[in-house]
Symmetry: C2
Subunit: 202 residues, 2 copies
Amino acid sequence: MASTGSIAGPVQSLINEFSKLPTIGPKTAARLVFYLLNRPRNEAQSLSEAILAVKDKVRLCTLCFSLTEHEPCDICTDERRDRTTLCVVAEAKDIYAIERTGAYRGRYHVLGGLISPMDGIGPAQLRVKELIERVGAEDPAEVILATNPNAEGEATALYLSRLITPSGTSVTRLAYGLPIGGDLDYADEITLTKALEGRRAL
Amino acid sequence: MASTGSIAGPVQSLINEFSKLPTIGPKTAARLVFYLLNRPRNEAQSLSEAILAVKDKVRLCTLCFSLTEHEPCDICTDERRDRTTLCVVAEAKDIYAIERTGAYRGRYHVLGGLISPMDGIGPAQLRVKELIERVGAEDPAEVILATNPNAEGEATALYLSRLITPSGTSVTRLAYGLPIGGDLDYADEITLTKALEGRRAL
């Protein structure tokens, strides 16, 4: 818009930069900029430095391909973690979701995506070879396939299951069912079907 | 939470920094961090630098108290702008909202807030003295009070109107009424009352 010439250059630049981020539109971006303008400089500096640090100090763990400051990562080197269970996830962020539950004490393997022929992503584009090598070398008692509950996640889990099962390792998948705190009335048909199929004796 | 020890330090730091911003909760913050991790370093650097630039290069215009890189600001020095009209706003961001309409060609005065006795903000905490001095020195034909349509905005407009009117300057207020594209059915009672009171002959 022509009238934005009246907006101070650096203000408009930061609005543009924030707007590139997911979930942030131009109005939210403007709100963030005016918020920062009203805060002490050291707060803005902390944010600015944290953004560069995440690019400069974070790398992939050579063992599990999670994000880490040190190699191998804290989880891979933690002697208290159960070495007989390996949890396979699509992305490093899925690890944080699982860690927040506190319900898993084993180790992880990050695939770096999911099989998606539509997007040209096959097993060769993922860390499948590395997973198979790890399963062979570490011989875990159980491999948990914790891929997303959607078409790509299912296809990837099925593919990996067929590769791993012959080695004798137990392969499991996260349970499907009603989300806790949810309302049966509002559950979609597929979730409800899965909840019925997966029903357990009390 | 104890389990976040497994999150790489710089990732957690940036999640914390993003979470301090308004409208951004921990989940959105994490999403932004993983987005940046997947982008080239120069994109993160642009954002990082733009944040510092907004703190280091933006100052207040000494005339209208808007945000600017140069003093006086682009609007105050623009010879094509109408010097007979002065639009009074609470915050610099309100200028950008009005500029986006392209419907106003005069100049601005930023109060730096609104009168709010509950928050201990009176005329002395705002740039009211500077406004009265400008009106005296520049003698505009019209002062538009473009404060928010709420209690503080109304009180501030009423207060300023009483100060300025005796000088013979015409004082106006933004119109209240139905928002364009809105539905009469959904308008609140106060807005609808204002729309009726402000009805105009066709």
